[in-house]
Amino acid sequence: MKNTVVDISALCDNRGIQPPGTEGDYGFNIWSNTFPAEELPEPGSLVPVAGVPFEFPARPAPGGDNIRCRGQLVPVPPGDYDWLYLLGAAERRTEDQVLLHYRDGTVRAEWLRMSDFWPQTEARFGEPLAFRTSAMRYPRHTHPAHAPSIWQQRVPVTVPGEITAVRLPDNPAMHVFALTLGTDLEARRAS
């Protein structure tokens, strides 16, 4: 598999990962809960999840560390990809369509299904667990043994072609922390 890691930091608009002892404009969900930063990699780290490398958390950016999906267009290095891999989590499970933009102007929709980040809630869509912290942060305290999750989503590119951009769903219950595009070279050689 050839992987292309996408830098999404410029589009991040939500602060869901919070260092200890900090206050301010943090809040992954509508209740302002966050993931403890000390239990996650350093921003800009290249980390493998289920065999796929991701830049996670995103590089430091003024807007935050994840994209709350509101239909943003994510430019990607033009390429003939087979899979979109994401690190994401939702406020209650949900599903929606991403739009794949091809070099020739074609647009095709594919389903993105994202499980709930809430503690003690398993993946609804069979996603591999990417990260689960031991505690969850609240605005004025950190609650131990209350473990929120980030999952790895996989979206197929069902029609081959050169992809130049991905339109995220207009679904603010979805949060995207990282994006990597995969090209399955072995399958192509075999076919």
């Binding site: 509508i30 209740w31 302002s32 709350r68 509101r70 239909g71 939702a90 406020e91 209650r92 499970r93 949900t94 599903e95 929606d96 709930d116 809430w118 503690p119 003690q120 809630t121 398993e122 609804r124 969850m136 609240y138 605005p139 004025r140 305290h141 609650h143 043994a145 209350h146 769903p169 207009d170 679904n171 603010p172 219950a173 979805m174």
Partner: protein, 334 residues
């Protein structure tokens, strides 16, 4: 004296709130399958009776369980004791009689809740025992972080007697509504309908009728749902209070749909009917629209007018897919 009623087991559905969770625990205690009972009804009825409670169910304020499970012989009645002492005496008497009950409680006073000593909210949980000598009450609360065990009677009493005031800027949806020591008496008749094909067909037929031919088209059924969504979204830019109203109403509507999807899937497996499994998946898709709409509403406070076009698109997609489900269920019933 010590009383610990059994069985009291963990039960939770991921799209449910404390209402469905507590109901599931109590139904399980009575030997009923929570999905069979709580998942049977799917409908919409919102007569404008909004309450700032995590356990609010539109249109069912006085008999929550009748609203949750109208296809079964189950009902409930709220008790509103005059004071905390009377409230505990009544609940203790129920436990002595072998009946676990649901009580309203403010999480601010419950040591196992993340809101403990932080913010106030109006929660519901099961009480299944007590220990007079230890000064403890046994409670079951599967809402994450799940807890089942003893809490000090003093804290439990404070939680039930709380004025539930606004503190800080969180949990505003369910604050400013005094708890009032309320507790819920549940009545489960001995004979309940069997989950067979005849009853299942009856359930689906009644649900379809509720959606397509409701008693009050303005507040109920698919027409009432459409009215609720269009009228609130149309007025949202000029009325900040509609954010809370939509969020609080959508919560239980989402939970009801999620449980009905489980119910259809269970029926599909039991009756070996792939069309039912497909209907279950379609209902789940409606749930996922509700999940999106719920958060879209909750995050639109800063600029409500700007959010309206997106909310309208989501509501339209939800209604379209809702109609599709009803069409598919009609095919099952044909």
């Amino acid at each position: 004296m010590r009383v610990e009623l059994a069985p009291v087991r963990y039960w939770r559905h991921d799209l449910g709130h404390c209402l469905h969770t507590t109901a599931g625990v109590l139904l399980d205690h009575h030997g009923l399958d929570p999905i069979e009972v709580l998942g049977a009804w799917w409908g919409f009825h919102y007569p404008g009776d909004l309450r700032r409670e995590e356990y609010y169910l539109p249109g069912a304020a006085e008999s929550l369980f009748t609203g949750l499970a109208p296809h079964h012989r189950i009902s409930s009645r709220w008790h509103t004791p005059a004071d905390a002492e009377t409230g505990w005496r009544e609940v203790r008497a129920q436990l002595l009689a072998g009946r676990p009950v649901a009580v309203a409680a403010d999480n601010f006073h419950l040591p196992f809740r993340p809101a403990y000593r932080d913010v106030h909210t109006n929660h519901l949980l099961t009480v299944y025992g007590f220990d007079d000598e230890a000064g403890q009450v046994l409670v079951a609360d599967p809402v994450p972080p799940a807890f089942q065990g003893a809490v000090p009677l003093a804290e439990f009493t404070a939680a039930r007697d709380s004025g539930n005031p606004v503190k800080h800027d969180r949990d505003l949806f369910f604050t400013a509504n005094p708890i009032g020591n309320r507790w819920l008496e549940l009545t489960v008749e001995d004979r309940q309908p069997a989950f067979d094909q005849d009853f299942f067909r009856h359930v689906l037929t009644e649900n379809q009728r509720g959606f397509t031919d409701p008693a009050d088209r303005a507040t109920s059924g698919l027409s009432g749902l459409r009215t609720f969504l269009t009228s609130t979204i149309d007025a949202l830019a000029d009325d900040a209070g509609l954010v809370d109203e939509m969020f609080v109403v959508i919560g239980p509507v989402l939970a009801v749909a999620g449980l009905h999807a489980e119910y259809l899937a269970m029926a599909g497996r039991r009756f070996d009917d792939h069309r039912l499994l497909e209907c279950a998946r379609l209902v789940d898709r409606v749930c996922h629209h509700w999940a999106a709409l719920r958060i879209a509403v909750a995050t639109c406070r800063a600029d409500r007018a700007a959010a309206v076009p997106s909310l309208r698109r989501r509501a339209q997609r939800l209604l379209t897919e809702h109609e599709l489900v009803l069409t598919e269920i009609d095919r099952v019933l044909a």
